[in-house]
Structure formats: structure tokens, C-alpha cells
Assembly symmetry: C2
Homo-oligomer: 141 residues x 2
């Protein structure tokens, strides 16, 4: 139930570890060099912070560590998307998701999955979403 935050830079590291683990700091750094002009020290700092935040686990391997994710990408994504969703009136969430779909490239398969979920959702969808905003923070009222 903790709500530790993964910063954007830290996220870059997490993505590497989610993709490959266990993995060493050296390897993480090597991979990220393709994308970020970070010194090895920078990557190590981020790794250290992620360990402290409990997002990475360590396994001693000789004089070094092997890192593995302590949280899944999906969990973290749920967290992150939750933050975004909380920034708008619940009644505006549909619009937000529309915007996201519009601005994304999605495959036929993706779109079909979405259709299915939407179909499901429709079974129990309310006529109108309740707005939980305080007066003055949205125009629903």
C-alpha cells in the first residue's frame, strides 16, 4: 500500500530491469547509453535510489550486485496512470482516454481488445458518472 514514486529518470532504469533481470549496474548503464548521455555514476545513483525506495531487489554476486524488479511494470503503470486519472474530474475521464487513444498508434489487435473491454464495461456502465469534485474544480455542477 506504499506509494513510493518512480521519477522519469528512474523509470528508464526500471524499464531496463523489467526487460532483463537479474542484471548488473554495468549492464544497465551500457544499455541506457543508447538513449541517455549518462555517466556510469548517474546510473548508479538512480539504481541506488530505486533500491532504497524498494523498487529493486539486490542479490550479492561476488563483489557486485544483481538487480531485479521488486514491483512489476504493470503495477507501476497502474500507479502512474492512477495519478493522471486523479487529476481530472471523474466525469472527464472518458474524454481523457479518448484523447489518449486518438494520439496513439494502436494495432488492430489492440483496438479489438479495447472493443471487448468496452463491451464488457457496458454491461454495468452507469448512465452518468458521479462527479466527486469539490465545487469549483469542475464544471459538472
Amino acid at each position: 500500500m506504499k506509494d513510493t514514486q518512480i521519477s522519469p529518470s528512474e523509470w528508464e532504469v526500471m524499464r531496463v530491469v523489467w526487460t532483463t533481470h537479474p542484471i548488473t549496474s554495468k549492464e544497465i548503464s551500457r544499455i541506457l547509453n543508447e538513449k541517455k548521455d549518462w555517466k556510469l555514476a548517474t546510473t548508479k545513483t538512480l539504481i541506488g535510489r530505486l533500491v532504497k525506495k524498494g523498487m529493486l531487489t539486490t542479490a550479492q554476486n561476488g563483489r557486485q550486485y544483481d538487480y531485479s524488479p521488486a514491483v512489476t511494470e504493470d503495477e507501476s503503470l497502474k500507479e502512474a496512470s492512477g495519478h493522471l486519472l486523479n487529476q481530472v474530474c471523474t466525469r472527464k475521464v472518458g474524454e481523457l482516454i479518448e484523447m489518449m487513444i486518438e494520439s496513439s498508434t494502436l494495432s488492430i489487435g489492440d483496438l479489438e481488445s479495447l472493443e471487448n473491454i468496452i463491451q464488457m464495461k457496458k454491461e454495468n456502465a452507469p448512465e452518468v458518472v458521479a462527479c466527486g469534485c469539490i465545487p469549483g474544480q469542475c464544471t459538472c455542477s
Copy 2:
């Protein structure tokens, strides 16, 4: 085309101004008191920062200011959702959107709108989304 960031606390203020404008700092603070235990000074600081960032415009009105948004909520939401989308492999965006739909309450109308957009999208949807990740940051390869 600049990329000034609206922080979570600042976002609370923006939502008030998006809802009602022009509006005074006093009124913004009064509205937010319902939700945040902020001192008037805190709200003023956030307003000041938003003005400096160019997210709010001011119009002198006697000894005080009337504030109005300099960016729309939709623009800002697009920005914010773009950040989220950029945190995952393009090929995983569909899954992310699925998660968001699943964890949200959407009205029949919302769902129908989404269906329409998806229908449109399907006309030009690729069989598979191209992955733009560097090797090691996603499992597509």
C-alpha cells in the same frame, strides 16, 4: 512548443481557474480549502509560480489581480498524458489504455464514444505497432 510542467499541487490551482475565470487569489484559496489544508500563502505561492510559468494570465483589478488560464485543460491533459504514454513501449500502449479503462468508471455515453473512435481508428490501424525502444528496454525484440 515549450514544455513547462504543471506540478500536482499547481494542477489543483489550475483546475479551479479552468472552472472559473477570471478569479481572484482569495477565491481560489477559498475553493481549495474544501480539499487542501493550505494556508492562503501556499495558494499564493502556487499562483505566483503558475504565472511565472506562463500558465496563468493576470489582469489588474484595483489593488488585486484577476487570474485566467493561459492554457486550456485539454492542452495540459494532452501534455500530461503524453508523458505517461512515453514511459512505455509503443507496443504496450494498448495495454496501458486497457488498464486505464478497466480501472475507471465510464458512462454508457463515454463507452459509446470510445467505440466510435476505435471504429475510426480501425480503418487505418496497422497489423502491428512498430516498437521504437532501444534494445533492452522492452521485450518486443
